[in-house]
Amino acid sequence: MPIYSEKVMEHFMNPRNVGEIENPDGLGEEGNPVCGDMMTFYIKVKDNHLEDIKFKTFGCGAAIAVSSMVSEMAIGKTIEEALKITPSSVAEKLEGLPKNKFHCSNLGAQALHKAIENYQSKQKKGGGKG
């Protein structure tokens, strides 16, 4: 079989929500250049919901498709729902990822979670707006 599923290819070729959010409510970075995949997620939160998500990704086809899929899965969800997104659920939605790509390139959920944690820690400090 081809190494990537059609779904991965579709998200890689047309990634959703690429970009940055100025003054995001939360920002999460994951990965490093040695393994070759790095992702930055930006979130905008309103009424405990992820109103907007953007990402930037340096990485392979899988990494880009994962980021796109994560953003699509999380947008509009509550914080609690979004935190339930796991690498496995992302891979499943993408109709599978190559075995060797699973760990390195499937960092999207973590990057999102980091952005949420970043938002939550700001909330604690600043009293929050959400």
């Binding site: 890689f12 040695v34 070759g36 930055t40 990704t57 340096f58 990485g59 790509k101 390195c104």
Partner: protein, 396 residues
Amino acid sequence: MRKVYLDNIAGSPLIAEVREAMLPFLWDNFGNPSSLHDWGDPPRIAVDDARSQVAQLIDADDEEEIIFTGSGTESNNFAVKGLALAHQEKGKHIVISAIEHFSVMNSAKTMEKLGFEVSLVPVDQYGSVDPEEVRRSIRDDTILVSIMHANSEVGTIEPIKEIAELVRERKVVFHTDAVATAGSMPISVKALGVDALSLAGNQFYGPQGAAALWVRKGVRIMPLIDGGIQEGGRRAGTENVAAIVGLGKAAEMATVNQAVRMKHLTPLRDRLLTELPRKIDHVVVTGHPQNRLPGNASFCVEFIEGESLLMLLNSQGVAVSSGSACTSRALKASHVLIAMGLSHEIAQGSVLFTLGLHTTLKDIDYVLEVMPPIAERLRQMSPLYAKYIQKAKGGK
């Protein structure tokens, strides 16, 4: 859509003459060269001829010095392990360069497990080995030096003749992996002064399944593959006659056409090497600017990862390869680029064009046309690029 295949290092089509030479041995002449009846004659004669053709390609005097193997990888395993084991009574130290192909590198690692010691000779920023460094690394218990003739990932051609001279002075056996060069540029084992040399037909329009190790007469080597006494007892197993015939024919064609092929490839390669960095900012040429393989143009595109670049080029019909971590099945950036001193970040942006007989100027121009918007697109998605821009702005 235009199809532009620039990944000849990974595989290339057989030339028509090779195909024609092989066909009879795939179908009608199915005999075994060892057979004493009539069916054995055509394959035996054909294998003998192929041996002469390969000997001629590398200017070897004695065709019995050619040992057929199944792949370049096998030739390199055979050389490193077989030469080391045959000479271990003198010592157990092996010297290789830091940019050897995995088939040499990992064979040396296996020898480490068997009690040998391995030294890696470093390379400079262009991937060149300094002969002096090799000389310095040779010890009294050194029994084998293996330095590749050219590196296929970055194209750099090594000063084998100079290295061989220094190694010979120390009476150490010297092997060179010429898989990237044999058939692509003129080679003379006599002029190079080496003791053993690996070559593979699939690198010069021959088939998979046949390669060779040349070992100078009188140099002892232990077999890697034991069994019957094919190849003079040095490599056992029923001969893959069709593939050997294909290798022989490809060698003959290369001997005749090498000069013309190089003349075809060099200007195409040079156009890519000069124009791509002009069309795209922050592109570095990897490998040596002059001493490089005629068909090799390799780069690192900063802020971008090689696999996604490769996939978007593919979506435009262009086939290339990359030394990025994600494109390797081992998920490590090319040890060659790292040994040349490139950061992991930059090495991830590796892209390698390997040109072939069928490559045209139009192909090159098509790449120069479709690649800049692809690089731009990936940079717009890249957090590394964003950081770079921010820094650049902040610096103003």
